[in-house]
Amino acid sequence: MASHLLSLLIWLPILGAIAVLAFGREARVARWLSLLIALATFALSVPLWTGYQPSGPLMQFVESMAWIPALKVNYALGVDGISVALIVLTTFTSVLVILGSWGPIEKRVSQYMAAMLALEGLLIGVFAATDALLFYVFFEGMLIPMFIIIGIWGGPRRVYATLKFFIYTFLGSIFMLVGLIYLHMKTGEFSLDAFSRAGLGSTEQAWLFFAFLIAFAIKVPMWPVHTWLPDAHVEAPTGGSVILAAIMLKVGGYGFLRFSLPITPDASQEYAWVVIAMSLIAIIYIGYVALVQEDMKKLIAYSSIAHMGFVTLGLFIALALVRQHQNPMGARLAIQGAMVQMISHGFVSGAMFSCIGVMYDRLHTRMIKDYGGVANVMPWFAAFMVLFAMANCGLPGTSGFIGEFMVILAAFQDSPLIALLAAFTLIIGAAYTLWLVKRVIFGEVGNDKVAKMKDLDAREWIVLGAFAVAVLALGVYPKPLTDLMEPAVLQIVKALAMAKA
């Protein structure tokens, strides 16, 4: 029986966005209606997770319908374990984002909620598309709601930040578009499957690899094309930051996995050192940059870049492992680690930005120096914040530890030097995160305004509590997640080993 679950997951929030715009003249209605839609979408994504059979075929819940027969473009959807995990992350985070924006967003509520829901639908589309053109449409389409979210509800420099965000990411992806059209010319269709069997020469692969690299490196973002991210994060409203950090950055990592590795494996191997070097610079240099930030959001933004460095490191270390060391198990570990890191970073960064949002709603400042001793007045909040900070430094028992540990372990099998450099993050990450916590949460109450801060209300409790459960659950018992992704990861490792020219 053909399942339409994926279509439903994509279109429910998008159509819901239209409904919110139409009926949400009153802010209260808009909020409840969008919460309802987000909850329904989340509920629908649960059967996706429980219904995915790791023993079954790789791609499940497959849908396919001719979209543009003249170009053999199909409306083709399907998920493997990695996509399922990312889709569930998206639906989960979206509910919390809508809940978290309940109070802080006061002007044009229906438009904000509609943009969030549309963004959710488009993100699910990105993770579910198995046709390159469809992927591209979702990939680019999601810029529009984000552009609006940052531009309307953002901070003082929002216009600069949002234009930079849009033009920067558009610049990257349009080169990918040329690559996709080229691949279409070679294969006559747009399916990712056909692309990976295109039998490309090494020069072609190299060009395509760099076209994809520009697109996804900007999205991840990797050093040195990361500069849009701190601006976008600082100016975006809390909800925008959470979606940006928790999900949109993952699209970059996901793109490497779906495009660069399977379609241009030889070029990926040849230029893996470029990506690995960029990742290490992100991990170490950006970590130091994070250390000196005075704006909390900027600090977390830079820490996001450093953490995403582990994702790209893991993905490209795998190539070296499988091809130079004939070590498929090591490669499996690396990719598995990169994926766990993606999911974990989604929870942790989402939670950190939510925490900053909670404080910002009370004092309307993000500067570290304006706070101090928050633990004295907001004990519950402080408990959550410290937990997420620990996850951010990769403390064992939290989700942050698992992914980083797996990637470092895999990197060690390739080169102890790379592993050593990557492991620096444990020190730098701890330094900037703990120092942030020390200055903001602990110590004497900083000033009168801090003294008047109220502890979490019920709504904030639910948001941070849900993140906390996710972070701890993934940290203590990651097996369900790794089991879910196992077949997809093994398939990628196998393909990489086979594709060796």
């Binding site: 044009r108 449409v137 680019e140 929002r158 216009v159 234009l163 033009i167 558009f170 040329v178």
Partner: protein
């Protein structure tokens, strides 16, 4: 020996009907009082709709073409599709322009008659089977357009624009005519199909030089009419100076007709010199993309900005031509249709915001539109994103098709130049969205909309079509492809 075949009249029945209808409207309008002008309005729309129905019924099967009047006139799929969209765009101009013209005391019969004659000219132009018909159709279109631009006699800007348009347009027509005479000299025929068969550009051909010069003049003439750089000088001034209701027209339907003319002359007539003109068009495309996008950034007047953006879109359209095969022409036609639809909404929005004594043609006039009227701000945002080529809107897929045409033709460099300028273009379209959504309005009152319901509805539908065609664009693409089924390759 010229023979008259009564069946030819049947082939020409849409044109003949439109001609008859226009003359009748001319007479009827004479006897109408100013207050009854709406009769002319609805009659004109009716005439367009009936003509469209006749065109639709007369489209021959894919790959077929029906000649008439000794091959002076051709009715084929390309002509059919272009005529339908030309009629649609003219209809939209009528719908959009009414309240604007009424507010400015320009709601006169001449507007309708001149537009109908221009439409007739475009219909002839896209069906032309000989150089003479091309010229005839073109002059009918351009002479009507000059007069339309000058419709507001008391406005200095409007008169200036008309003079510029006329002088430069006449120059372009002259160049085109000169090129045609050379081609006639080299081939001895005016019939485009015969020229195609006879034109011999091999190295030992005695007419090589003459043909080359003729081709250059033809391309220059076409570039003038399309508004491709470096022959674009008239375009910004005319767009800005003309009454906005006329700009809607000049920006939309004639682009389709110019595409048809280029196709008839270059593929229909000079197909044998394909290698020569694709190179010329490639450079015209690069220049248009550069000039259009770079100059548009600096504009503060929305009409002028859109004029420069037109130049850049012509650059994109030419990418399809550079391919020089059926799929390339189909991509270019697809692009021309998408551009006409987008330009109609963009200029239509200026008409919507304009009131008596106030032209909403500065970008700043759109400040805070989202707070004053979210619906039309949304329509304008869709249009801007579509013009910029952001999926899932129509404009993106049009760009995709022409980029594909260029890449398929092995012109990867051209595609890369095009996308680099597309990024430049993105900036000024986003600026309009920024003004509408992120800036505070100068005046908090809800937008006073014109009472003309037909205008508001058709503008909304036109805007939503950009979204709908972004999702379901396959039928239109198939239609464009089938129109070119007869072209070899």
């Amino acid at each position: 020996m010229i023979q008259f075949n009564p069946a030819d009249l049947v082939t020409l029945r849409p044109e003949l009907f439109l001609l008859g209808a226009t003359c009748s409207i001319l007479l009827i309008d004479l006897f109408l009082k100013a207050a009854q002008r709406d009769v002319t309005h609805w009659l004109s729309l009716l005439a367009l709709a009936a003509t469209a129905a006749l065109v639709y019924c007369g489209i021959p099967a894919p790959g077929q073409s029906v000649p008439a009047f000794n091959d002076m006139f051709v009715s084929d799929g390309v002509a059919g599709v272009l005529k339908l969209f030309v009629l649609l765009m003219t209809g939209l101009v009528f719908l959009y322009g009414r309240s604007y013209l009424r507010d400015r005391k320009l709601f006169i019969g001449e507007f309708y008659l001149l537009l109908l004659f221009a439409t007739l000219g475009m219909m002839l132009l896209v069906s032309a089977g000989s150089l003479v018909t091309v010229y005839l159709g073109l002059e009918l279109l351009t002479l009507s357009s000059y007069a339309l631009v000058a419709l507001n006699r008391d406005s200095a800007a409007s008169s200036e624009a008309a003079i510029k348009y006329f002088v430069l347009g006449a120059l372009a027509s002259g160049l085109l005519l000169y090129g045609m005479s050379m081609i006639y000299g080299a081939t001895g025929t005016l019939d485009l199909a015969k020229i195609h068969a006879v034109a011999d550009f091999s190295t030992n051909s005695p007419h090589r030089t003459l043909l080359a010069f003729g081709l250059v003049f033809l391309v220059v003439g076409i570039a003038f009419k399309l508004g491709a750089a470096p022959f674009h000088m008239w375009l910004p001034d005319v767009y800005q100076g003309a009454p906005t209701a006329i700009t809607v027209f000049i920006g939309s339907a004639p682009k389709l007709a110019a595409f048809g003319m280029a196709y008839r002359l270059l593929e229909g007539g000079m197909g044998g010199l394909h290698g020569q003109w694709t190179l010329m068009l490639a450079w015209l495309a690069v220049l248009s993309l550069a000039v259009g996008n770079l100059f548009a950034i600096a504009q503060t007047n929305l009409k002028r900005m859109l004029a420069y953006s037109t130049i850049s879109h012509v650059g994109f359209l030419l990418l399809g031509f550079v391919n020089g095969s059926a799929s390339g022409y189909a991509a270019a036609m697809f692009y021309a249709i998408s551009y006409a639809l987008m330009a109609a909404v963009a200029f239509g929005m200026i008409l919507l915001l304009a009131r008596a004594g106030f032209e909403a043609e500065e970008i700043d006039d759109f400040k805070g539109l989202n707070q004053r009227n979210p619906w039309y701000a949304g329509i304008m945002a869709i249009t801007m994103f579509s013009l910029a080529g952001v999926p899932p809107l129509f404009g993106f897929f049009a760009k995709l098709m022409v980029l594909k045409a260029a890449i398929d033709a092995g012109q990867l460099w051209l595609a890369i130049v095009a996308i680099v300028f597309a990024i430049v273009g993105l900036y000024y379209y986003l600026r309009v969205v920024k003004v509408m959504y992120f800036d505070e309005p100068a005046d908090d009152a809800p937008l006073a909309l014109p009472p003309d319901r037909a205008f508001r509805w058709s503008l909304s539908l036109n805007g939503l079509a950009l979204l709908a065609l972004g999702i379901a664009w396959s039928p239109l693409l198939e239609w464009c492809n089938s129109a070119f089924a007869a072209v070899a390759k």
